[in-house]
Symmetry: none
Subunit: 230 residues, 2 copies
């Protein structure tokens, strides 16, 4: 299956007991570029939250064992502050109210329009200060500007601040030649005497960290001008 160009790596957790509905939801969100983890019950969710750090929960209120709202209320009691959107077939006032009360950030009634669902998720994420633009992607590199985490393939790479700033700048200006002057102004804020080779060395170190096998050729030197990311 073709994976659509992913603008972000925001992780969504869905709890929905109906297999068909769960698959539909997974499809909707994955198509939008979210990373989705689905659960048919609340059983393993708490454990999952311990280990991962998803950005939002989508919870069906009508789950077989526990009421979704109770489950979320319990999560809140335990200290989880993750945003929640409830899915519910009911639309009686009492249910909606209870949903909000137990710590939901929004709710959607089934049947729903996929677009509306996506819009609400988007709105809740925005309110929670989670932006899809915090993460930048380039080839197999994903950098998170808020955490300064860098993933190459599926491995974390430790970069220094200088290296991170460099990589960020290149990714934000990918496919453009960044001249040495530009780099100097942007990263080093020139202090008069500036050794030509400083940039070479800094880039060399960066290359070595994100591509230790030296077979990816992220950077192309433009002779006498600068570099570009390719």
């Amino acid at each position: 299956m073709k994976v659509k160009n992913r603008p972000n790596e925001i992780e969504i957790v869905i709890i929905e007991d109906e297999q068909d509905m769960l698959e539909l939801l997974e499809y909707i969100f994955q198509k939008e570029g979210y990373r989705v983890t689905g659960f048919l019950s609340t059983d393993k969710v708490e454990q999952f939250l311990e280990e991962e750090n998803p950005s939002i929960l989508i919870v069906d209120r009508n789950l077989p064992k526990v009421d979704g709202a109770d489950f979320v209320a319990n999560l809140r009691k335990l200290g989880y502050a993750i945003p929640v959107i409830f899915l519910t077939a009911k639309d009686r006032d009492s249910d909606i109210i209870e949903g909000f009360d137990s710590g939901g950030d929004d709710y959607i009634t089934k049947p729903f329009k996929p677009k509306e669902l996506l819009a609400r998720v988007s709105a809740v994420l925005k309110r929670s200060g989670i932006s899809q633009y915090d993460k930048l992607k380039y080839r197999d590199i994903v950098i998170d500007c808020k955490s300064q985490d860098v993933m190459v393939g599926d491995a974390y790479v430790n970069l220094t601040n200088l290296e991170f700033k460099l990589l960020e700048l290149f990714i934000k200006n990918s496919h453009q030649v960044l001249t040495r002057d530009f780099l100097r102004d942007a990263i080093w804020e020139d202090d008069g005497d500036f050794n030509d080779k400083t940039i070479n060395v800094a880039l060399s170190r960066l290359k070595k960290k994100i591509d230790p096998k030296e077979d990816k050729n992220y950077f192309t030197p433009i002779w006498g001008v600068g570099y570009k990311l390719t």
Copy 2:
């Protein structure tokens, strides 16, 4: 008599000209644990806002002298961003729209169900980032923002006020790099001269208390930038 502002106790201001209704509203919110200040007119409200810092305004649109919506529009003009919910007996579209236009975050039509009112207040507060949940969790740390209790694993840890504020800030912004500048502004609100190392020392003390064996590595220093909780 003025009661000292307790941290994390949410304060609600109600403006309602009918004495009975005001008392009912005060009762409803107080029962839910909110701190309530009621006004029979808009007269003293602005002065009150100068001094206190309530989390939300509940405003009747049909006030004797001024229209509630006009009053709120004026507040907005003055720069108050406090969330507002309108109470209104009217329900024609034009009124509702006017209410939103003048800076309301939600509205409720009388007669209302107490539960619905509470739910809407709750939702608006949540949208504004004001949480009524006082527990936050991060890995094996649970902090109670109200009592300032801190549990690590299953042991209570005694933190000083400064240490608690630091930990709370980091947990609320986990997985993000908090720069030294940010920390200084958020915790120390400093006045110019500020010893660089104050942050190091404060964090060092915090680390020692929540991780005396030094094997948990809650904090990762980002060299030359700040720290993040991981």
